[in-house]
Subunit: 246 residues, 2 copies
């Protein structure tokens, strides 16, 4: 019997992959994933067999992985970023458990978009932070906005995943309005597009200007806390000792 | 002129390192870091020159990195986990900026302890989460506990870094008391010790039993949200669609 590896391969580029992720993909008989993710890695592993399924077919994708593993194939089910953060880890475990089959699942973590995005902006995550997805496909909007409010109230740095899509044009605006009740209009905000991939770009703006920023579903938005500042083009959330000693 | 790479090498084991982190350490003339971290990687890069400084000497370490880079050395300043999450990224940028010297700093992200810990527990981070350090060396305790309260109120999965040290014996108890005001005593809690290193271990407990768990500063604690459950030894925070379809 073979195993299913749920592989987080990082934001996209080969340089962000871990040794474990690369080895798992090399060892796989079959690499299964969402079409866009497969396109990111196909060129890196040209000899592999790939199977891609469209977005929103997560459960179907896991069932395929399970079926192929049941036939004796070593399967790598891939996610971008960390497979354990909004990735395929949970669904894969749930599908295997619901099936009653005894196929081992190994979760391979990766560099998540918040980490890769932060590295491009400077060092915004040096203090406590909250990670929130603005996608309401599976989570009610009120719940999401309550989380935005609580994170703002707690002065967390806030990392927003999936900030905008064609169907969700105004969620980022709603979120920034909520945060504005707790933070100054000049609060630095970092925006990273296509983080860790070709043609990635980043931009520094402020809470007050966030609604004018160009943002899509491949963008990550990092809103600073009350101490975050920008200097020499870098977004930095300091910790206390540095202020004292530097 | 050379560059300073601030390298997050992941939780410890070689398999968790990214290609970029490995290449940066290989390319360095000098690898600078906290003694414990240097001990983790010395065996992997036996030919390298290392310079280690004790804990709490972060600023000193950055000044050494800057001085050596100024002499024309290619320096890798290493952190475990992600250099951008409670790591050396911010301090290094601040030290370079305060010096007025024009030495480029590249931040190399890595797999943070929350990601590696979650992968050992199952899939607890499939929904929004907050990352909080219980170390009050640099952040006031009241601020930390306010964040715990806000994270609990927002039903975030909560990842606690640095949950305990010799000087901070009861902070984890304080935090779990606060969370208990918002969540059921049976809420699953995952505890991972020495995550991603030799002799790592993990344990599943509940919010009610958290105070009895064996926890130290090399431990990460992940407290589930209101929907997190344990099945077949795996801690899972589901997203909506799975409940419907599986």
């Amino acid at each position: 019997m073979k195993r299913i590896d749920v592989v987080g391969f990082g934001p996209g580029g080969y340089e962000y992959m871990t040794v474990q992720a690369i080895e798992a993909m090399k060892a796989a008989d079959l690499i299964v994933g969402y079409t866009t993710y497969i396109d990111l890695i196909r060129g890196i592993f040209p000899d592999k067999t790939f199977l891609n399924t469209p977005m929103t077919r997560e459960v179907e994708r896991c069932k395929i992985a399970l079926e192929e593993a049941g036939k004796g194939q070593q399967v790598a089910l891939v996610s971008s970023g960390d497979s354990g953060i909004y990735g395929m880890a949970g669904i894969m475990l749930q599908v295997v458990q619901a099936s009653g089959e005894d196929i081992p699942v190994r979760i391979i973590p990766g560099v998540t978009a918040a980490s890769a995005g932060a590295s491009m902006l400077g060092a915004p995550l040096m203090n406590d932070f909250a990670v929130i997805s603005l996608s309401d496909l599976m989570v009610p909007l009120e719940q999401i906005m309550l989380r935005v409010k609580c994170a703002a109230e707690g002065d967390f740095v806030i990392c927003l995943y999936n900030p905008k899509s064609r169907k969700r044009k105004d969620y980022l605006e709603k979120a920034s309005d909520i945060v504005s009740n707790f933070r100054k209009p000049e609060t630095p905000v970092g925006i990273v597009r296509r983080v860790g991939r070709e043609n990635s770009s980043c931009e520094l703006t402020t809470l007050k200007e966030l609604n004018n920023a160009e943002v899509d579903m491949f963008t990550i938005v990092i809103i600073g806390n009350s101490t975050t500042y920008v200097r020499d083009g870098k977004m930095i959330t300091p910790r206390g000792y540095v202020l004292k000693e530097v």
